[in-house]
Amino acid sequence: MLRFSPTAWAKLLFLRDYGKTEVGGFGIAPRDDLLYLEDVQLVRQTCSWAHVAFDDESVADFFDQQVDAARHPEQFARVWVHTHPGDCPRPSQVDEDTFSRVFGRSAWAVMFILAYEGQTYARLRFNDGPGADLKVAVGLDYSRPFGGCDHEAWKQEYLSNVQAQQPIRITSTATEPVVESPFDEEPTDEWLDNWFDYAEDDDNVKGLH
C-alpha cells in the first residue's frame, strides 16, 4: 500500500485545489519506509487544466537539494505524483509514456494520480528482472509522528513553482502565475460604480441625450 502521512495528504489536497490546473511533484519518503510519503514537493512546472510539464533544470535542482539534505534517490525520486481534473485518475497515454521513459530505468517507481474529485490511482512498477506492474491501494497512515498544516508555506511553494498556461484554444501561450490572473479575483460590484461615475460626467455622454 502507498501511504501518506496526514500532513503530506493535506498538502497535496491544498496544492491540487489552490489553482485551476493540474499540478505534479515528487513524494518524499523516509529511508526505512519507501512507500510512506511524509511530504510531496513541487518543482517548477508549466500547467494547464489538463496537463503538467516539469522544468528540467528545476528537476535537477530538486535532486541536488535532496542529496544535500542527505536523502537517497529512492526516497525522493521514485514516487511521481500528479493530479487530474474531474473524477478520472486513470493514467493517460502521456502519463504512461512518461512513466516508461523516465522511470523505466529505475529499479522501481510508483505513478500516483489524484483526481479533483478525490479518486486515486497508484501503480508500482518493478523494472528489474522480468518486471511487474501492480496496482496498489492508497491510504493515510496515522501511526507515525506527523506535523501540522502550513498553508502559508504551501502557498508560497505553489506560487514559486506553478505557472499556468492558457489553454491551447486561446491564442495566447504566455505563462503567468495562476493567482495573479485577474480572472481569479473575487467578483465585486466595483464595475457598476465605475459605470455610474462615467455616466455622470457630461463629457462622456454627449450626443446620447
Binding site: 493540474e22 505534479g24 489538463a50 496537463h51 503538467v52 510539464a53 516539469f54 528540467d56 533544470e57 528537476v59 535537477a60 535542482d61 535532486f63 541536488d64 542529496v67 537517497h72 534517490p73 529512492e74 525520486a77 521514485r78 511521481w80 500528479h82 487530474h84 481534473p85 474531474g86 478520472c88 493514467p91 493517460s92 497515454q93 502521456v94 502519463d95 512518461t98 521513459r101 523516465v102 522511470f103 530505468r105 529505475s106 529499479a107 494520480i113
Partner: protein
C-alpha cells in the same frame, strides 16, 4: 580521483565514485547509464549544464537527472 555522482537510474545513486584522470562527462555517462539516451537526461557538472567532452576534475558534482516529465488527462 573521486567525483560525486547523482544518478536517477537503477537503485538510484548519490555518492562518490572513483574515475580515472581525464574522464569526460560523456565517458562517465556511458559507464554509468550504458544504453540510456543522453537526450533523456539533463547532465550537469557542479549544477551547470556542460559539454559532453568536458573533462571532470577532482570533487566535481555530476548529475544525470530525468527530463521531459509530463502528465496529462488525455
Amino acid at each position: 580521483m573521486k567525483v560525486l555522482l547523482i544518478n536517477h537510474d537503477g537503485g538510484g545513486f548519490a555518492d562518490y565514485v572513483e574515475i580515472v584522470d581525464g574522464t569526460t562527462v560523456a565517458q562517465l555517462f556511458e559507464q554509468q547509464v550504458g544504453s540510456g539516451r543522453a537526450s533523456d537526461y539533463l547532465i550537469r557538472v557542479n549544477r551547470q549544464p556542460c559539454p559532453a567532452d568536458q573533462v571532470l576534475q577532482e570533487g566535481d558534482r555530476v548529475s544525470f537527472t530525468p527530463t521531459k516529465i509530463e502528465g496529462a488527462l488525455r
